[in-house]
């Protein structure tokens, strides 16, 4: 009798035209391959050495890490991407002003959609699993191979099932859940594996939270984090996705290596202490003063993130000892935030707001930390030196906690910020 399949097994089977199960190695057709300004140049060099034509429709080029060009070296590098796009007639190149954090662009521009197989030369490519796609990070040489062939080898991953019940309470959100999961299973707890979400609680997790959760499965070593598409997904991608797509659901008798269960009602506001994302604690258990509060990135730079932060900050003032930096993840987010008056809310509160880019997330520019400085951040990694000097510290938290902490000058929940009148 045939065994049932997980979403990962189904998508990789369909895309490889084979009957694949966990552990098999398949060659699969990919829908899109994306590179950014840091990983692109090696791919361009490798590809050009082949001397062939690329399969243009499948290629997406997004400068985001070191743009707007932060120095001469990054300017040269960004130019290589533009020239590659022009040389090969690739339409899906997004110039500064029409570009933002690569993963948010993939979502906004409708490349990410249910059932698709998408690869990207960036480890957070797993984000699109929030829409029911199988998407994963690859290297630059593989991206070059995809430019030429539009297919790639994959080992079909084993899957961990995450069963959700209940609903988030108060300010708890997707970021708190994924920080809890990474802390529970550890930074290599899902290496080579997919996480597949399900259960009655999934309907209570909005799409923007699903993207945040899928984004950070790599922080547990995961290959993909998948929310099988439902009505919420359909409402989100309808009219946005480019071309056809197909929702993929797991079989009831699919086999999982492990099942994790979470009641969303039990999740509280979390913060991951330096220098690993698995160092999660409840915000109420820590007492840490901060120098910077960063709101942005592919993890939490969406309009919903900016709205919740603006609601907390509106009419108040950022703490005198704190720099607050707000970076919308894409032009679409930036425009909405402007139209809804959120940008004005942040500026009036004394925060710095910029156009979309990766910014301080990887210590590139716009918010690099000095020796000894501490930052509470809505991003995904708190490795040593991730945001600047190797003596600086990054604390990972939700947009609500970042906003509340910016007011209080130390890491607190919005409820505590209110109590202390910050």
């Amino acid at each position: 009798m045939k065994k049932g399949k997980t979403v990962a097994e189904k998508i990789l089977s369909r895309k490889s035209g084979s009957d694949a199960y966990a552990g098999d190695i398949v060659e699969a057709e990919i829908d899109y391959v994306m590179v950014n300004d840091v990983t692109g140049p090696i791919a361009f060099k490798e590809f050009d050495a082949l001397g062939c034509e690329p399969i243009r429709e499948g290629i997406v080029l997004i400068p985001d890490h070191f743009v707007p060009n932060k120095d001469i070296a990054s300017a040269q590098q960004a130019l290589e991407m533009k020239q590659f796009a022009r040389r090969h007639g690739i339409d899906n190149y997004f110039e500064v002003g029409r570009s933002g954090v690569c993963h948010q662009m993939m979502v906004d521009e409708g490349f990410a959609a249910p059932g698709r197989l998408i690869v990207g030369a960036d480890s957070h490519t797993c984000t699109y699993g929030g829409l029911g796609a199988f998407s994963t990070g690859i290297g630059s040489t593989e991206a070059a191979a995809c430019f030429a062939l539009r297919r790639l080898w994959f080992r079909v991953p084993e899957t961990i099932k995450v069963e959700l019940t209940g609903a988030f309470k108060g300010y708890a959100c997707g970021k708190d859940l994924i920080l809890k999961i990474v802390s529970d299973i550890g930074v290599d707890g899902a290496t080579y594996m997919a996480l597949e979400f399900g259960g009655p609680g999934m309907a209570n997790v909005p799409v923007h939270d699903r993207l945040t959760i899928a984004n950070m499965v790599i922080e547990a070593g995961g290959k993909a984090g998948i929310f099988p598409a439902d009505e919420l997904t359909e409402a989100f991608v309808h009219g946005r996705a480019r071309g056809e797509y197909q929702a993929v659901h797991p079989d009831p008798d699919a086999s999982y290596t492990r099942v994790l269960e979470y009641d969303l009602g039990d999740i509280g506001p979390m913060v991951a202490l330096p220098h690993l994302p698995e160092n999660g604690r409840l915000v109420d258990e820590v007492d840490v003063t901060i120098d910077q509060a960063f709101l942005g990135s592919c993890t939490n730079g969406r309009i919903e993130d900016l709205r919740i932060a603006a609601d907390i900050i509106r009419g108040r003032q950022v703490h005198p000892d704190v720099r607050m930096i707000v970076v919308p993840a894409s032009p679409e987010v930036f425009l909405k935030a402007t139209e809804e008056g959120l940008v004005a809310d942040f500026v009036r509160a004394g925060a710095f707001v910029s156009g979309p880019t990766c910014a301080a997330c990887l210590g590139g520019h716009m918010g690099v930390l000095a020796d000894g400085e501490r930052c509470v951040s809505s991003t995904n990694r708190n490795f040593i030196g991730r945001m600047g000097h190797k003596g600086s510290e990054v604390y990972l938290a939700s947009p609500a906690v970042v906003a509340a902490s910016a007011l209080a000058g130390r890491i607190v929940t919005p409820d505590t910020a209110k109590e202390v009148g910050a």
């Binding site: 140049p41 040269q76 290297g139 040489t141 070059a144 080992r155 070593g221």
Partner: protein
């Protein structure tokens, strides 16, 4: 060639890609000589002592962190011909196989400077009279390594000449 003989450098657990090659070296101008900067923040000077044919022996989760292919490329430029570790992070594993750097999953105890012999066909490692065994790659992955990397395979499939 299935046999690799080399001198060992020993590392611990969770060696991330930032340690292997830091973000400042990710711009194109360093691409051809990034081997000079491997481990510059955690073991300054080690890059200059590494020589052609060396082997790294490490703990678990080697190569975790970003997708930067600059990491295995820099190791190869520094002369490293094989990495032996208890386990590898996924993208580092793929990157290495695809550019032709053999990785061996094995838990072994050797001293820095020892000489080890890795037999990729037999799945064995030998050092100072002791031997270890490791699981061999699936056929599909071995084929990429044998050809000398993914791009060689792509070239063949496309029918391009070298």
């Amino acid at each position: 060639m299935s046999e690799i003989i080399g001198r060992v450098w020993v590392f611990g657990d969770h060696v991330d890609t930032d340690q292997i090659i830091p973000a400042e070296r990710l711009v194109s101008e360093y691409l051809d000589h990034s081997g000079d900067y491997v481990f510059e923040k955690v073991r300054p000077g080690v890059a200059m002592d590494m020589a052609e044919g060396d082997i790294i022996v490490a703990g678990k989760n080697f190569g975790c962190g970003s997708s930067r292919e600059h990491a295995p490329r820099s190791l190869m430029q520094a002369g490293v011909r094989c990495v032996i570790a208890q386990s590898f992070a996924r993208i580092f594993f793929r990157n290495s196989i695809n550019i032709g750097l053999p990785l061996v999953q094995c838990s072994m105890d050797v001293e820095e400077g020892d000489t080890v012999t890795v037999d990729l066909d037999q799945g064995t490692i030998e050092s100072g009279g002791r031997t270890w065994e490791f699981p061999r790659y699936p056929e599909e992955i071995q084929a990429i390594i044998d050809k000398g990397g993914l791009m060689v395979k792509v070239r063949e499939e496309l029918g391009c000449s070298e």
